[in-house]
């Protein structure tokens, strides 16, 4: 593998990171909204959020990518850059999964905390922001870090329909011109591993710490 080819692969890895970070920020915000909607006092909102999550979790990411890629053109926005289409699809996808993870974390905060917050006269939003969410955050960290690994891996799908130039796409391009799949896909796999494994380890450590303090 020449120097240029390695640079090209690393450039792809940068694209992967870009998309992952964008997804994590936008998907995180959407996921938080989804988690709060899932436990909303308004029945309609709860049902709508649950339906959204059900539908998105039953859709392949590849199909979501296609819808987000061709969709904006149809509704008259015009064609969007590959990065935007990919980030949009990944955001929708993450919102459903993060929403469901975080709902569980919010609901696992002890009931008495909710009641105590109500007793001292906090409004619903104060209760959420000052009492429940800070405690839920601690429980939510390990599975959230774990989901970041899913996000990084799933960005590879953006190379298919959308053709966003990230790590998998660049590796495929290199392979198409050199026909050395073991080298290029092996290197790509190593790069993915280098991004994901530390997060996996971190998630497990956090989980162990959390279990130790709660034990």
């Amino acid at each position: 593998m020449t120097h240029e080819q390695l640079t090209y692969l690393l450039l792809g890895a940068v694209g992967t990171l870009e998309l992952s970070v964008l997804t994590f920020i936008a998907g995180g915000l959407a996921g938080l909204g989804m988690a709060l909607a899932r436990i909303s006092p308004v029945r309609g909102v709860r049902v709508a959020a649950a339906a959204w999550i059900q539908v998105v979790q039953g859709t392949p990411l590849l199909v979501l990518m296609g819808l987000c890629f061709y969709g904006p053109n149809i509704i008259g926005i015009g064609s969007v850059p590959a990065l935007v289409a990919a980030a949009l699809a990944m955001t929708i996808y993450s919102s459903a999964f993060l929403g469901e993870i975080w709902r569980g974390c919010i609901q696992s905060v002890h009931k008495s905390q909710w009641e105590a917050a109500e007793c001292i006269g906090l409004t619903r939003w104060q209760r959420m922001a000052k009492v429940v969410l800070p405690q839920a955050l601690r429980i939510a960290t390990p599975p959230t870090v774990g989901f970041m690994v899913q996000i990084i891996k799933n960005t590879s799908i953006a190379s298919l329909v959308i053709g966003f130039a990230e790590l998998s796409y660049n590796a495929k391009v290199l392979n198409n011109s050199t026909f050395q799949p073991f080298i290029y896909f092996g290197c790509a796999a190593l790069l993915y591993f280098a991004m994901c494994y530390p997060l996996s380890r971190w998630s497990r450590t956090l989980e162990r710490k959390l279990n130790a303090t709660r034990g």
Partner: protein, 227 residues
């Protein structure tokens, strides 16, 4: 700009779509069954007395869980064919999916096995059950019962992820749809139809797993709760 939706040219291809859906079902079914067996064996290997076996399974599981399915499939299929090992494309797709899902299944079943109380094993020993009997009745079945929900949602995710196999040339639902797309140029309609079919498939699969659970796990009391 007002877009004129035209589903007729897409829906006219329904025999093809049906065929694709059938291939997707076959792929998922085979990968689920073989992957489950592989995962159960790996879970067993991870608790083995032999250090080398534990480490080997550990490397496999971590390697697979920290790399994307797409790269695994490329590596496997294109890699093997570059050294002269060729196989039918569907066999390759099943192989890639099995290797992938085996690692996830292993981790899930291992969590189930770890949740089984030591006292259960001692009790089984006292009853004079053979090793195989202990493994089947005391370890594997209760472990799988406990993690059944996460296991089945992982398998549904596998079915959805099988769409990625179109990128190595498998003519499953998504691959067929790509073909229709290049015939009709109705990109958005195709994706809407695909969306509906995949949703239907995932609900059918969840229903199937629920029914299977009702048949296989007959106890009505929730596992682990006092009598």
């Amino acid at each position: 700009m007002k877009y004129q939706f035209d589903f007729s040219s897409v829906l006219a291809q329904w025999p093809l779509l049906l065929e694709g859906a059938w291939v997707t079902i076959q792929l998922s079914f085979l990968a689920t069954v073989i992957g489950f067996v592989l995962g159960a064996l790996c879970a067993l290997g991870r608790g083995s007395r032999h250090g080398w076996l534990r480490r080997l399974v550990g490397v496999y599981v971590e390697g697979i869980r920290n790399t994307p399915l797409l790269i695994q499939a490329y590596f496997l299929i294109f890699g093997l064919s570059s050294v002269g090992v060729t196989m039918p494309i569907l066999a390759g797709a099943v192989l890639a999916l099995v290797i992938n899902i085996g690692a996830y299944t292993c981790e899930i079943i291992r969590a189930g096995i770890e949740s089984i109380h030591k006292g259960q094993l001692e009790a089984a020993d006292c009853l004079g059950m053979s090793k195989l009997q202990v493994f089947w009745h005391v370890i594997l079945r209760p472990a799988v019962e406990r993690v059944y929900p996460s296991l089945t949602s992982q398998f549904v995710l596998l079915m959805l992820a099988s769409s990625i196999m179109s990128s190595i040339g498998a003519e499953e639902l998504f691959g067929i749809a790509n073909r229709i797309q290049s015939d009709t140029f109705r990109n958005f309609e195709i994706f809407l139809v695909l969306w509906a079919i995949y949703l239907a498939l995932s609900y059918m699969m969840r229903l199937g797993f629920w029914l299977l659970g009702q048949i296989v796990f007959t106890r009505r009391r929730k596992l682990g709760t006092p009598l």
